[in-house]
């Protein structure tokens, strides 16, 4: 796919971002992530590495898939990963509040082929973030 934007294409994009089936995102202005909901947080943060369908990716190393990932079965695990990170993955505690962490974990645990019924509560997150 060629990605060069001509002014004409750009003008079209500015009118309708749907041309690329990608909504023009609202960017955070607070110095933290401003997105309140799990879906927006996934699309604007997690997707950067874990990709649009949670499928992960491979290069010299890899980003693990979140799609149909049995590790998500233990709900404290994704809460810990989002909070503190692991290996090369940064933690997001400084950029997300506990409600946002709960929302994005719940979103991932109920999408991409994951069907976990036990929701993560803010209290569950607080037990990990301790704030």
């Amino acid at each position: 796919m060629r990605t060069t934007l001509t002014p004409a294409i750009l003008a079209g994009l500015l009118v309708s971002a749907c041309a690329f089936a990608e909504d023009a995102p609202m960017l955070s202005t607070s110095g933290k992530f401003d997105q309140p909901g799990g879906e927006a947080l996934f699309n604007q943060v997690c997707q950067g590495c874990h990709m649009a369908e949670g499928q992960g990716s491979h290069g010299a190393g890899a980003y693990p898939a979140l799609a149909a990932n049995p590790k998500l079965g233990a709900k404290v695990y994704p809460v810990f990963m989002v909070t503190s990170g692991q290996g090369g993955m940064p933690g997001f505690k400084k950029y997300m509040d506990d409600q946002q962490i709960a929302s994005v974990v719940n979103y991932v645990r109920t999408h991409f082929g994951n069907h976990y019924a036990d929701s993560v509560t803010v209290e569950d997150v607080q037990a990990v973030t301790r704030r």
């Binding site: 796919m1 060629r2 990605t3 060069t4 934007l5 001509t6 002014p7 750009l10 003008a11 994009l13 500015l14 971002a17 690329f20 990608e22 023009a24 995102p25 960017l27 955070s28 202005t29 110095g31 933290k32 992530f33 699309n43 604007q44 943060v45 997690c46 997707q47 950067g48 590495c49 990709m51 649009a52 990716s57 491979h58 290069g59 010299a60 190393g61 890899a62 980003y63 990170g85 692991q86 290996g87 090369g88 993955m89 940064p90 933690g91 950029y95």
Partner: protein, 534 residues
């Protein structure tokens, strides 16, 4: 300065001093994180006397790996390098017209810049005190030119101040300095500093403030020829019968303080951004290419490392072709210098001690974005007289940097249209490359209204999507350094690590090279000692 001794009458002065203390505190914090540490460089680095036939396998052909390859071969070792990419350099990288970049997730961008125009997605400047980088540049004949960091005629922009109209750096700089000098003079004259300073010192301070801030005889900062000599004129001096100079009106003190624009002024005063700063002529990868000329015959490209084993006899590294073709292959050596980013190394099965493995797994990789934009003409020079340097904006693109080369050239130009850290960097990474470029154009238009008419094409690199690094650089904290840094840098059996992640100058090429020199120096000493003991 003993800020506590200052009994200052005016809240604004206190506020300002607080800001100053904040900047100093920030600098201290950055020092403790390693950002401001000076390169501890030994000129004429050289090793010699390798035990005959000793083999060293180097993983990664970035600057750390190629430094090790160059120096170890000179010392007499049998050296081989495995590199994931089809070319050397790692993060020392330049994108030019005709280049193609496929990021993680599969999106491919074709760089459509005109000949001679480029983007450095990674490192883009070399401070004068990064001695190791500069020495290799000099040794290998890499042509350097000044990198303009501070440009007094560039813009500082806040969406929340001056109706979103960008201000000139020189106006904000001169007016902030002038207003602060005036406020401090008032504090002196209202006896606010009587306890902190003697009468003679107070008089000296008033005199210095008049010079430093371009104040008038009454210690006031106001419209005058003197203040315009700092902030620029409404009408410049000319020759012959051209109009005489007209002074310009300073920005109101309160409006300036409220704007927060002055916060951008401190950046260029930091040690690593002070003049002189350099860039290689033609793109940062000229450094990678210069190293390549020295060690290309040692490098096996397109080799993806999948396993690192060691025992008391030697090191065995398993790899496959980077495109997945072919089967597992192996390379054996007596010793190994591993420069793979920790974000990659931490995912591999590696035979190292538990403390080193913990260290490898303790360092997250930072997010960062750069967007290069090509325009039909160099309007920033032609319309706005901005030659190189950086404009600052509170929009998500954070900075716009103008090329520090080819001034006045007719035809197209490429500028750095976004350089982003923090939450917005993650958000840009999560966009398609096209959307990143679109957003950079959209926000940049607030600083330069010429954007929509002049924009042609762009290319965007989000470092978490770069297949050979999975992130920008290793993000240490004082706590993780305390717990893990030494364990990371120790020789572990027959393996030693090197790279910017194994340095106190993270994210800089200097850190990669110094780390490599230190690692191979220790390894060489260890090898000689082992050979004698055997």
């Amino acid at each position: 300065m003993q800020e506590k001794a200052m009994v200052v009458s005016r809240r604004k002065v206190l506020n300002w001093i607080g800001v100053t203390a904040g900047a100093a505190a920030m600098y201290q914090a950055m020092s403790s994180l390693g950002f401001a540490a000076e390169s501890n460089y030994q000129r004429d680095f050289a090793l010699s006397g390798a035990p005959k036939g000793t083999r060293v396998l180097i993983l990664g052909a970035g600057l750390a790996g190629m430094t090790a390859a160059y120096e170890l071969r000179k010392a007499g070792y049998q050296v081989k390098v495995l590199e994931f990419n089809a070319k050397p350099g790692g993060r020392c990288w330049t994108l030019r017209g005709g280049d193609r970049f496929t990021e993680l997730g599969g999106a491919t961008q074709h760089c459509e810049f005109d000949k001679g125009l480029y983007l450095n997605p990674g490192p883009w400047r070399i401070p004068y005190h990064h001695h190791a980088v500069l020495d290799y540049c000099h040794k290998f004949g890499v042509a350097l030119e000044p990198f303009i960091q501070v440009n007094y005629n560039a813009m500082v922009h806040s969406t929340k101040a001056f109706d979103g109209k960008p201000q000139r750096y020189r106006e904000v700089q001169a007016d902030f300095q002038g207003h602060v000098a005036e406020l401090l003079s008032k504090a002196v004259n209202q006896h606010g500093l009587d306890q902190a300073l003697t009468r003679e010192d107070r008089e000296r301070l008033l005199e210095v403030m008049r010079k430093w801030g371009a104040l008038d005889a009454n210690n006031a900062y106001k419209k005058s020829l003197e203040t315009s000599m700092r902030r620029g004129f409404a009408v410049d001096d000319g020759g012959g019968l051209m109009p005489e100079a007209v002074p310009s009106e300073p920005i109101d003190c309160k409006a300036l303080l409220d704007s927060n624009l002055w916060q951008s002024i401190a950046s260029g005063q930091e040690y690593e951004f002070q003049s002189s700063i350099f860039q290689p002529v033609g793109g940062m990868d000229m450094i990678a290419q210069a190293f390549q000329k020295q060690v290309n015959d040692l490098i096996h490209y397109n080799a993806k490392v999948t396993r690192i084993q060691q025992n008391d006899q030697g090191v065995t590294v398993t790899y496959q072709n980077s495109d997945g073709s072919g089967g597992a292959q192996q390379e054996q050596a007596d010793w190994c210098v591993c420069t793979l980013p920790l974000s990659i190394l931490g995912q591999l099965p590696v035979d190292v001690s538990a403390p080193m493995m913990s260290a490898i797994r303790a360092v997250p990789y930072e997010s960062s974005i750069k967007v290069g934009l090509q325009f039909k003409r160099r309007f920033w020079e032609q319309d706005e007289h901005i030659y190189g340097g950086i404009s600052y904006t509170d929009t998500p693109i954070s900075k716009i940097s103008y090329p520090s080369t080819d001034y006045g050239k007719q035809g197209k130009g490429v500028l750095l249209g976004a350089y982003i850290w923090g939450p917005n960097a993650y958000e840009f990474t999560a966009m398609s490359p096209q959307m990143r470029v679109q957003k950079a154009v959209e926000y940049g238009t607030q600083v330069h209204g010429q954007y929509p008419a002049e924009f042609e094409n762009g290319i965007a690199v989000g470092w978490h999507r770069v297949p050979w690094t999975n992130g920008c650089y290793g993000l240490w904290t004082p706590e993780t350094r305390q717990q893990h840094y030494k364990n990371l840098c120790q020789i572990d059996g027959r393996i030693v690590l090197a790279g910017e992640h194994a340095s106190y100058i993270p994210a800089w090429m200097e850190g990669a090279i110094l780390s490599s020199q230190d690692a191979i120096k220790r390894l060489h000493t260890h090898i000689i000692a082992s050979a004698k003991a055997a």
